[in-house]
């Protein structure tokens, strides 16, 4: 475990509890996002990791070593730090800025120089920009430098405190892409504070949702979308986002009907007619003794045959379209709809019949996802939510084009 935070508590002298019993174990290479409304303690928690703040109680260990026993200056040099308002030194060139921590660590001039060139390349900025001053760069370019500066001394853990909060949406998107790529390529551990849910869900491997100093939910973006822990999380995510995310998180097994009407190959036409009548269906799925899907029979086939003792297997329609139970709806919905069938059998990995998906159920999901929330009349609970809703609405517009 690279970073371990146990029973963290931060109480200010005025009695305000900013963080209460925070626990988190972070593995190498994880991308953790702390998200919550303002005052939820997410920044406070992050700042305790590099001892910009000291916890009231609880322990933080990095590689098993208790950081409260470490020299804060040394600790900070080993942790990358990116802040919202960029924090480049305006009186230093880009190169000098990138070299700050390597220089503090006593790297040789040549090594620092090599590293600066490597870093500007990682930031996808031209090499000659090294000699410029921060004020000559755009906000997005500055924050690119801010990000690679935090990587310049080969730190294992990088803390990012709302790094893109001050950037316009287009610049923010390109920065998010940069950060995600760097994190994946370099295998560093990123800890990231944000109040932008899209950002958290898009970038993080695990999301820590905080409210009033407490952890509300800690899980992967998929699981959070699938099972929001409570109403607060639902509000924070936004109902529209939850609905829109459904095709990408729901599996076929979650919307299928169990116990589809089925019949065995050695049963007869009469059995088929009786079963259709009982179940009020016009199609029966044919399965063998192991419940493996063989095909289907439908009412049209039955009408053509006069002899009611004809075994099912003799007129089974073998060209059956089916889907896997664990596949995502988003991946299969197009195929299902294009087939133009009313019902699609669902099978497990051994092709055993487990359920059936009706066209109606599918269309409902697709329609909701396109439309967003059903005529949303819910008021945003906070400015943060308003923000998230605004973003979500904007995206909805894009996806429809």
């Amino acid at each position: 475990m690279l970073l371990s935070m146990e029973h963290l508590r931060k109480e200010y002298p005025n009695g305000k509890v900013a963080v209460d019993d925070f626990n988190l174990q972070v593995d190498r290479g994880e991308f953790i996002a702390f998200i919550g409304t303002s005052g939820s303690g997410k920044t406070t928690t992050m700042r305790m990791i590099n001892r910009m703040l000291d916890q009231t109680s609880g322990t933080i260990k990095i590689d098993g070593e208790d950081i409260s026993k470490m020299d804060p200056v040394k600790l900070r040099r080993s942790i990358g730090y990116v802040i919202q308002n960029i924090g480049l030194m305006p009186h230093m060139t880009i190169q000098e800025n990138i070299e700050i921590v390597p220089k503090l660590l006593g790297w040789s001039k040549e090594k620092r120089n090599t590293q600066a060139h490597k870093m500007i390349e990682l930031a996808q900025l031209p090499d000659d920009m090294l000699q410029r001053y921060p004020g000559e760069l755009s906000g997005g370019q500055q924050q690119r430098i801010g990000v690679v500066r935090a990587l310049a001394a080969d730190q294992d853990i990088i803390l990012l405190d709302e790094p893109f909060g001050a950037l316009d949406p287009i610049t923010r998107e390109s920065l998010q892409a940069l950060v995600k790529r760097l994190q994946e390529d370099l295998g560093k551990t990123f800890i990231f504070v944000t109040h932008d849910m899209d950002e958290a869900l898009h970038l993080a491997t695990r999301v820590v949702i905080m409210s009033r100093g407490k952890q509300v939910q800690v899980d992967t973006p998929e699981n959070i979308l699938r099972h929001p822990a409570n109403q607060f999380v639902t509000n924070l995510i936004g109902e529209e986002r939850l609905i829109r995310a459904q095709p990408n998180i729901l599996t076929v097994s979650q919307i299928m009907l169990d116990h589809p009407a089925s019949i065995r190959p050695d049963e007869t036409l009469k059995d088929a007619i009786d079963r259709m009548h009982d179940r009020r269906v016009d199609t029966l799925l044919v399965v063998n003794d192991q419940n493996v899907l063989q095909g289907f029979v439908d009412l049209n086939d039955i009408n053509r045959i006069a002899d009611v003792t004809t075994p099912i297997k003799s007129f089974t329609n073998r060209e059956v379209f089916y889907v896997q139970a664990d596949s995502l709806i988003g991946d299969t919905v197009d195929r299902i709809l294009k087939q133009g069938v009313k019902n699609v059998p669902v099978v497990d990995s051994e092709k055993r019949l487990v359920g059936i998906v009706t066209r109606t159920a599918l269309v409902d999901i697709v329609y909701d996802a396109l439309k967003g929330a059903p005529e949303s009349d819910h008021q945003p609970a906070s400015p943060i939510n308003a923000d998230i809703h605004a973003t979500a609405t904007k995206e909805g517009g894009d996806s429809q084009q």
């Binding site: 730090y81 924090g87 305006p90 000559e136």
Partner: protein, 208 residues
């Protein structure tokens, strides 16, 4: 004009030298004391106002009175003059240093600390360089004050260009008064100009 230079030329040079020496010494002491003090003041919230007020009070003592007060302690000559002028130089430097340091963006301070700079490194590599233009403006202001007030130092036997002016006043000789005043004005202007150059030099390129 030529006659004045012929008669007083060498004297003018030595008096200018004395004047410059007294002013420079006072200013240098002022910088040595007030800049670090101003930097330290930013670390203590409560003491800062008190100390800046105290420097302000010292500033209000009439120059002549302050010079006279120095005589029992330091006798006469250039030493009491330098001490008195040093006291005068404190306030502008102290106040500007304090304000300059406070004006450094909190983001830069946060970044510097978060990257693992020690207090000393934060001061010398980040905060003082960024506050330098404001600090230098205070030093320039002090320099012109000190050069102007050094004229009075002649009263307690410190010499300097004030000698010409006071002699001129006593003898009703306007040429001596002008011969002392004009060099003082020129001196102040030149020093201010030179310090302005220094200010530009210490200013971060991006902030110029």
């Amino acid at each position: 004009m030529m006659h004045f230079f012929a008669t007083y030329g060498t004297q003018l040079l030595s008096k200018t030298g004395q004047h410059l020496y007294i002013s420079a010494a006072a200013l240098l002491l002022g910088v040595i004391v007030a800049v670090p003090l101003g930097v330290l003041l930013t670390r203590m919230q409560h003491g800062a106002n008190f100390i800046i007020s105290l420097a302000g009070v010292l500033q209000t003592i009439p120059a002549m009175a302050l010079l006279a007060m120095m005589i029992p302690i330091f006798g006469i000559g250039s030493t009491p003059a330098i001490v008195a002028l040093f006291i005068y130089s404190l306030l502008p430097i102290l106040r500007n240093t304090y304000l300059g340091m406070q004006g450094v963006s909190p983001t830069v301070k946060d970044a510097a600390e978060g990257m693992g700079m020690t207090w000393w490194q934060r001061m010398t590599q980040a905060e003082i360089p960024l506050a330098a233009p404001v600090i230098m403006a205070g030093i320039r202001l002090s320099a012109t004050y000190v050069i102007a007030w050094a004229t009075l130092a002649s009263y307690i036997g410190a010499g300097g260009l004030g000698d010409f002016i006071f002699n001129g006043l006593n003898l009703y000789r306007s040429d001596l008064i002008l011969g002392g005043s004009i060099p003082v004005i020129l001196l102040a202007l030149i020093v201010d100009y030179l310090l302005g150059k220094v200010e530009a030099l210490v200013s971060p390129r991006q902030l110029r």
